[in-house]
């Protein structure tokens, strides 16, 4: 190794507990990384078709497809990688199987092979990622970055740590060799695993657990993204002040309304204090913690761009 800086991650793995918005964050990150002239591939591997609806696009397939323009003039492509297709792809590449591959598929053999070796599925999927990260086209990298909408925190370490499974099951053969080369990339600084959480006890706990598991497995942790943070301003106020304020603004301050608003505001302030505590807890992990606002209407395409601006390299206020 030379003394030069570590390479910038080119594979961004985005994980989080279910419900934290990891798919939206992965999509926003892809848009943010697609700066001028850059090409970014956004990949999902669990066949959930979570990406397409965010972009108001038709379902993604195994073929990469143009999805959207990036934030600053780049391009984002999308792909849904399926293990069976990846195996066929792989067999075709290494064994020149041609139509025999289709016969195997009909026979149930492909399904069988990806089922008998539990790690095989993940090896094929991560192998496909590696191929996308390292593919070159006409003298330049096909993609400047690849963003993966990864399995949730509970399963992500197992997913990324393919060598353990494959070492046990496929000691010899090209799959074994292949998986070792994939593992090398996943454990290198070319990869960054980003953890998405919301300001709530269970997701934060899972994030802390996942962080430890990733570190123990020697996988590179990137950013921690605290998502869906409400933007309420904390202020002190009494019921009387609220009542007279409402009157000034022309809203009839009946007591049920005043009580209701106070209840909501109390809850919001509790939430803000909780967010502070969760942020502290996450910062203790020693990784950068970035906040994304809650979008009240839910994340649609314009919401994605809004989140992307927050995630843009250098932060939201660069431009």
């Amino acid at each position: 190794m030379t003394a030069s800086a570590l390479p910038v991650p080119r594979l961004h793995v985005v994980t989080g507990k279910g419900g934290t918005g990891k798919t939206s964050v992965a999509a926003a990150l892809a848009l943010a990384l697609a700066g001028p002239g850059r090409r970014v591939l956004l990949v999902e591997v669990e066949g959930r078709q979570g990406i397409a609806p965010l972009f108001e696009a038709a379902s993604l397939g195994y073929e990469e497809r143009h999805l959207a323009s990036g934030l600053d003039g780049g391009e984002v492509f999308g792909q849904s990688v399926d293990a069976d297709e990846a195996l066929l792809d792989y067999l075709t590449m290494f064994y020149r199987l041609g139509s025999a591959g289709r016969v195997l598929q009909k026979f149930g053999a492909i399904d069988f092979a990806t089922t008998i070796a539990p790690g095989l599925r993940d090896i094929l999927l991560t192998g496909k990622l590696k191929e996308a990260v390292s593919r070159a086209e006409s003298g330049r990298m096909a993609y400047d970055a690849v963003v993966l909408d990864a399995p949730p925190t509970g399963r992500v370490v197992k997913f990324l740590n393919v060598t353990v499974e494959s070492g046990r099951l496929a000691k010899t053969g090209p799959i074994g060799k292949h998986s070792r080369s994939v593992a090398r990339m996943l454990h290198s600084s070319l990869t960054a695993v980003h953890l998405v959480t919301t300001p709530a006890a269970m997701p934060v706990q899972e994030t802390v657990d996942a962080y430890r598991e990733l570190m123990a497995a020697d996988l590179p942790v990137g950013r921690i993204i605290l998502n869906k943070v409400t933007g309420a301003k904390p202020a002190e106020i009494t019921e009387d002040e609220l009542e007279s304020g409402l009157a000034r603004a022309g809203v009839a301050p009946d007591s049920a309304l005043v009580k209701g608003l106070m209840t909501e505001y109390e809850a919001a302030r509790t939430e803000i204090r909780a967010v502070d505590a969760y942020r502290d807890r996450l910062e203790e992990l020693g990784r950068p913690v970035e906040e994304l606002p809650l979008i009240p209407e839910g994340v649609d395409l314009s919401g994605l761009y809004q989140l992307a601006r927050e995630l843009r390299p250098g932060g939201p206020h660069e431009h």
């Binding site: 195997l104 089922t115 090209p174 839910g298």
Partner: protein, 372 residues
């Protein structure tokens, strides 16, 4: 508007012995299962057990236990009936199944097989299959009036229905029989049976996976054959048990497009499979306490801010407007379920202000679910 789900009527129905909570990850499935089980015990005096599948420190803690394991253990401080809780340990459950069906020596042989180790701990579908297996075991003891089942945090909620059959089909299927026949000595018969494609298959997979893997698989399945054949039969029996009207399925969702989409798919599948679906619980709606439209609130806030940009009353109004907008968006998403599945009784639950950390929180959750 679809009918309101009567949670208490369901929990108190003595003809129901299993309630399975299904839904995608992150919708509060585990919490819902625990809260319903607690309410069944305390309010309806039923002898209840909750079987959770998440690697669940969280549920354990809210039930006042350090950790849950593969054996049901009583929850302390339950007022009324009794509540036991357990967490599925799929490897141990698989081991138990093997051990109970074969001799000690044979079992040891199976346990030592590397393929068995892979299947019993990581095989996709094993968790779902073992959940069914455990459910069958719990029912057979007759110790409980009601079993509340939290389903595995699968990629898709449908895995819960599909995976057991897939595993059974796989372990009992054509390809595996072929492999069992492909142990040395039987090779020729296999080739004559299946022809050239089988030869290609064996050659390619030996090459790709490394030869020993297929041998491990073949040995494993051969030993399973004579210990307890008919994985498929077993899975089919469990599947049928889920269809009888002693079982009740509840679909759990949160007001997010993906979760509601999953809930719709799952409801369709349950209906197609003639599974007894009794209702849908929508968790985590944003709670709105004040009755004031978003537009009025924002207009009033803007007016106050003209005089004083930091007017705290404006901050209160903006907080309300945010909540109201969130709630409106959530209701719109939830309406997709109602449009697609109008015949399913629903229960919509605003998020509790606090997170569930102990029995009291679970009680409050259960009471809210029951509308009490």
């Amino acid at each position: 508007m679809s009918t309101e789900l009567d949670v208490d009527a369901l929990l108190g129905n003595e003809g129901k012995h299993v309630i399975a909570c299904c839904g995608s990850g992150g919708v509060g499935k585990t919490t819902t299962a625990a809260a319903l089980a607690l309410r069944a015990a305390e309010v309806h005096g039923r002898r209840t057990v909750v079987l959770t599948i998440d690697p669940a420190r969280r549920l354990a803690q809210s039930l006042g236990m350090e950790a849950l394991d593969n054996t049901p253990r009583p929850v302390a401080d339950v007022r009324g009936g009794s509540l036991d809780a357990m967490m599925l340990d799929m490897k141990r459950t698989f081991d138990e199944v093997v051990a109970s069906h074969t001799t000690k020596d044979r079992a040891a042989e199976i346990f030592a097989n590397p393929f068995y180790q892979a299947v019993s701990s990581t095989f996709s579908g094993t968790q779902e299959y073992m959940a069914m297996e455990k459910l069958g075991q719990l029912r057979a003891t007759g110790r409980w009036d009601l079993i509340v089942l939290d389903t595995p945090p699968s990629r898709s909620a449908l895995d819960f229905l599909d995976a057991p059959a897939r595993l059974a089909r796989f372990l009992d299927g054509r390809v595996i029989r072929l492999l069992s026949a492909s142990t040395p000595g039987a090779r020729r018969s296999m080739l004559s049976l299946m022809g050239a494609s089988a030869a290609v298959f064996t050659r390619v997979f030996n090459k790709v996976l490394g030869g020993h893997l297929l041998t491990d698989v073949a040995e494993f399945t051969a030993s399973l054959e004579d210990t307890f054949g008919g994985f498929r039969k077993r899975a089919e029996a469990t599947f049928r048990a889920l269809q009888d009207d002693q079982t009740s399925f509840l679909v759990i969702a949160a007001p997010e497009p993906a979760a509601v989409g999953e809930a719709v798919y799952f409801t369709r599948r349950l209906t197609e499979e003639r599974m007894p679906l009794d209702g849908m619980i929508l968790n985590r709606l944003t709670p709105v306490a004040a009755d004031l439209s978003t537009e009025r609130a924002l207009g009033a806030a803007a007016q106050l801010e003209e005089a004083d940009p930091d007017d705290p009353v404006a901050a209160v109004l903006r907080t309300h407007a945010d909540l109201a907008r969130r709630r409106t968006a959530e209701e719109r998403i939830a309406a997709r379920y109602e449009a697609a599945c109008p015949e399913v009784p629903q229960r919509r639950l605003p998020a509790l202000g606090v997170e569930v950390v102990d029995l009291d929180d679970l009680r409050a959750f259960g009471a809210a679910a029951a509308g009490a």
